[in-house]
């Protein structure tokens, strides 16, 4: 996959902006009450209709075969309006790509057109959870155990889940249809942020699946590299939230009077805004460069470090985006508090922030050996 041409980048940018304006902007706050309000199925359906849900799929599978640069650009614009929908696109794309990379054609045929696919995006790639065990039986496997905090599980048809292959130390990826007997989901979990991208715990009690459903027998070693392609997209998500926070705070600061002047005239307000501007503006160039690097198959280090930089900076900066609005930032009306929660949630994609740092060094040292 080479880097995107300017024309398709511009076309998708326009689609994303129009979609965000039309489908997301006005009701993002209402849908953020999930699980105590309905799931925004309408926006997911609309995203499918305009092709945003299939951006990364090849044309033969009903997609447009775009690379990560285009995908990241889309997520950036969507996240400014509602990070939850952008996150759904990303999580679903991770599962789609796993299926494309490791799945049998018949399985792809069946599930790539699924409503949505769940994926353990909050687990750290080098330390996949070992709560589910897969035992070989006849021509297939029996899966048993628990997987906590599986993203999109409450609204997905099928899920990619890690499971320990019994008798080995290896963690494999399986695709499981969530309607399989023996699989049960907890009630949707109320989370800090991205509430519109639902999460649940999964329990699987001895379900039999055919061997076709084993996607990758050694996800423990293959999956960390697989995620590198998606790190620019996760960074774009965080930067998009920061950009939304920045624009909202800047507009507010130009309207609100305090201490005898419009507050943007106060230097302390400018310093707060500059904290958000730094990541919102430079982050765009960063995730673009990260995305081009992975599209061109260049080194992974930029994707790994760039994700740490942009998610950590964004999650701190949006707190200042709230601060500029004072009490009005703390209530839901301007969407700033939602952005603060969303950015913090995004920071834990691919594992806790300090763990991502430890894994970065582990990877660097391993490659240098």
């Amino acid at each position: 996959m080479g880097s995107a041409d300017q024309a398709s980048l511009a076309a998708f940018r326009e689609t994303a902006q129009r979609f965000a304006q039309k489908e997301l902007k006005t009701r993002a706050i209402d849908f953020d009450r999930y699980p105590y309000a309905e799931f925004n199925a309408g926006a997911v359906q609309a995203a499918r209709e305009v092709g945003l849900l299939q951006v990364l799929l090849p044309e033969a599978r009903g997609g447009t075969g775009q690379g990560i640069e285009v995908f990241s650009e889309i997520l950036f614009f969507l996240a400014q309006a509602d990070a939850s929908i952008a996150a759904i696109l990303l999580i679903n794309a991770l599962a789609q790509s796993a299926l494309l990379k490791w799945g049998k054609p018949s399985l792809q045929e069946k599930y790539l057109s699924a409503k949505l696919l769940a994926f353990p995006v909050y687990d750290s790639p080098a330390n996949l959870p070992r709560g589910v065990e897969a035992e070989k039986k006849g021509g297939g496997y029996v899966l048993k155990g628990k997987l906590e905090y599986l993203a999109l599980a409450p609204v997905a048809e099928a899920a990619v889940i890690p499971a320990v292959l019994k008798g080995t130390e290896k963690v494999a990826f399986f695709l499981v249809d969530l309607t399989t007997p023996g699989i049960s989901l907890s009630a949707p979990i109320l989370s800090l942020g991205l509430r519109g991208a639902p999460v649940a715990d999964l329990e699987i009690g001895g379900s039999e699946v055919s061997a076709d459903y084993l996607l990758c027998p050694d996800a423990g070693s293959e999956y960390p590299g697989f995620t590198m392609r998606f790190r620019p997209a996760a960074a774009a998500l965080a930067v998009g939230v920061a950009a939304g926070s920045y624009e909202t705070a800047k507009a507010y600061a130009q309207e609100r009077y305090q201490a005898g002047k419009i507050i943007i005239e106060h230097e302390l307000i400018r310093l707060l805004l500059s904290n958000v501007a730094v990541i919102a503006e430079s982050g765009r160039a960063l995730f673009g460069a990260m995305a081009r690097a992975v599209d061109e198959g260049r080194e992974e280090l930029l994707a790994e470090t760039g994700l740490i930089l942009s998610t950590e900076l964004a999650s701190r900066a949006v707190s200042d985006g709230v601060q500029v609005l004072g009490g009005y930032g703390y209530i839901e009306d301007y969407g700033q508090e939602k952005r603060m929660r969303d950015a913090k949630q995004i920071e834990s994609f691919f594992g806790p922030a300090p763990v991502k740092r430890l894994e970065l060094l582990e990877g660097i040292l391993r490659r240098e050996k």
């Binding site: 009450r33 105590y36 909050y122 687990d123 750290s124 330390n127 906590e148 905090y149 979990i189 109320l190 989370s191 800090l192 942020g193 999460v199 009077y257 305090q258 201490a259 005898g260 106060h266 302390l268 307000i269 707060l272 999650s315 701190r316 707190s319 709230v322 601060q323 004072g326 009490g327 930032g329 703390y330 209530i331 839901e332 009306d333 508090e337 603060m340 929660r341 913090k344 949630q345 920071e347 834990s348 594992g351 806790p352 922030a353 300090p354 763990v355 430890l358």
Partner: protein
Amino acid sequence: MTYKLNFDQDERFDFDGNFPSLAVLAKYKPAMVKRVRKSWEDERNFLREHLSPLVLSEDLKHAQNPDHISWEMLRVAGRHGRLSQYIPGFMGGLGNSLGLSMMVNLEEQAALDCAFCGMMGGHGLGLAAVFMTFNMRILQRVADQIAAHQNDEKPYVIDCAITEPTAGTDVEEVELYPKARLMCQAKRVSGGAVLNGRKVFISTGHMATDHVVIMPFDQRDAVNTMGCFLVSNGTPGFSLGRMERKMGQKAGSASELIFEDCLVPEESILLAQDQFPEEKFQEQFRMLLHGVLGITRTAVGAWSTGTARGAFDRALYLAKRIKHKGRTLIHQQWAQALLTNMHINVMMARGAYLESQFALMRGFEKIPLVTGFPPWISDSSILAWLFRQNWYRKFLHSRWMHRQILDYARSSISEDQDARVQFMSSLAKVVGSDMAMENCQLATEFLGQAGLRHDQGVEKIFRDAKLLQIFEGTNQLNRLNIFTHYLARHLSGVEVF
């Protein structure tokens, strides 16, 4: 795995180890520190036994229904006398949380539930405002109401309405009042005053029976024409507006209060500048606001310290249970260092609020309503008897006596002491709230999924904590306030606002 709010820190939390300055103080003021310690132990028992079951379940109810009001939590506070914990015993209150005890107990409350402090804080702010008007008649009235209704379905609490839609920071600082875009104004009429305007973000507004309302008689000269009123629910012209949907701090409502030609009778005016027209009372409002802010910003420092500790406690609890690479987090160097950073933040914040409280005790040492009464006074049954006598109340509650107390209070606080209280309390507030937010950021990052899901209790503190950097003057304003009252005082020609 669900985090049970069970004071996991008990095994390590001992009074002397965490409050070395109080251990020293105990040598000189043994009775006082003994009382503080006793009150602290009582508070911990109350919190553990009665409040902890409600912390997460109440927060969840707000997520399910944004219009929910945590009456259940208020009832628990009422049944255990917590609504009168700032009212001295001889006035019929529990009186266990005045002065130093207030701060130390607030830390405990916040360590369990930051939002419970928010619910109690609106009431506490109202009481602080009543204290600082030195209107003993209305203070007694409020104390009697609290005592009479603390076992009701909807216990009696008050709030304090200062913030207006277009004036937040501006009404937190005396120097900024002349620049504020105020929309509220009171008008003198025979038999009282008529209030007009809107107040917003009023903590505990939808729970309160009476509301302490601060608004000027002349917007253009607000500081010199300020009035402080007690407005009761049901008063014609007064209504509650919307209840804000906040990120956290859901146990206490943040409410809009609407005044449309609302008549407040003379007996409900806590303090009005025209009641005391003499030159020497010109600065009375400055003293009221400074006194209230000195207490409440120190209190926010203690509340923030507890919040920082709450984040730390939960992170520690989970670090003993979550595994990374097959080993529990608590055995890994990076996790140990991260937890240590969080603990350092707690200790720094605690140091700041204790110093601020000592500055407050020094600055207001002649005003025990603020700094706490010695045990032999607060527990005195003779005083309690005296305060119930009508003839004594008549005397204490007279306008003449009000004037004497105001005069005494005013002359007992020097300009130096006032400045010290102002910058120390701002410092406690800034350090505390920044440390609280920082610890919440660290805990959330550290724990990953466990930090994000509601049932572990960490994401709740993250949402609760952010308010601490915003209210009682944003941390930006408070920084400038520290500069004003500490550095700029000694620099000639330096203007701050």
